[in-house]
Amino acid sequence: MAEFAEQDNALVERLQNGDPQAIDEIVERYKRPLFAFILRMVDDYYTAEDLFQETWLRAVRSIRRFRGDSRFSTWLFQIAVNLCRDWIRSKTGRQFVPFEDIDELSCDPSVDPVRLLQSEAVRKLVGELPDKMREVIVLRYFHDMDDPEIARVVGCPVATVKTRGYRAIKILSKKWNLRSRERGGEAQNEILR
């Protein structure tokens, strides 16, 4: 972990000195987690593409102001969180492209269709969470961040993160149980087995 952070710091230093080769390396390291985070937050594929690009551009524009007080990943996700929040605030009235229409979402053509349906069910469940709770759940469970780091990314006290996480889990549990009851529970509970 420390070694990973050190490599990040070295890359950031190269970026600050204007080395364009460092861009390829740093994008390669973070493209997947960053894109996944943004997509889980905005729940709209094409917006996620735009915000992914904008996050990187903002990062490179302000890289000189990054002083290493936090990890690079924390700083990068802070930028992404702010962009996602701005977009969520302004999304009223926009047209969404249904996930089902997007071919790129299937990682592998031979992917199990049942697995895809399960993924879709969980996506909807996470997508229905209030934005601030979703931030905590996504960062904690998909990006394995601990609560202090999440607090730095979302800009609130650790206690608030814990509360939001607790409430989000309650909501998720309640909705999942409700959905299971409505649909007989068998197919959905397959996921938990």
Binding site: I23, Q53, W56, V60, I63, E104, L105, C107, V122, I169
Partner: protein, 127 residues
Amino acid sequence: MKYFDEQELRTLLAAYEICEPPAALVQQTVILMRKELARSVVLVPDRQRQWVMAVLGSAVILALSFFYMLSVGTVLRMVVPPQFAVYLSHSLYAFTAAELCLITGTLMVLCLRNVKRSRSLSMAGLT
């Protein structure tokens, strides 16, 4: 009502997979970032800008001092005893030399900025 425990929740959420962003998007992003990086190098970094401003400010202050020395020095020359006149003319030379140094420094900063700009553009493959 049964709430998820940590493990259950992780298992549940693991079903929501997301693949890598499209290669074309990543490639386009990298190109835009390279241009942005080159542009940010072209723009004067904060510290360098502050330095240029400091040098320019000092040059202006020294020019005013020079004017002051010329005018007030001339008056002083008439007022102070003749043995102090030599100090007045020495201080006049010192101020001129300091001013020349500051102006040279400013020119050097501007030249180095241009060198850095062309270097960063060529590194980014934009020339």
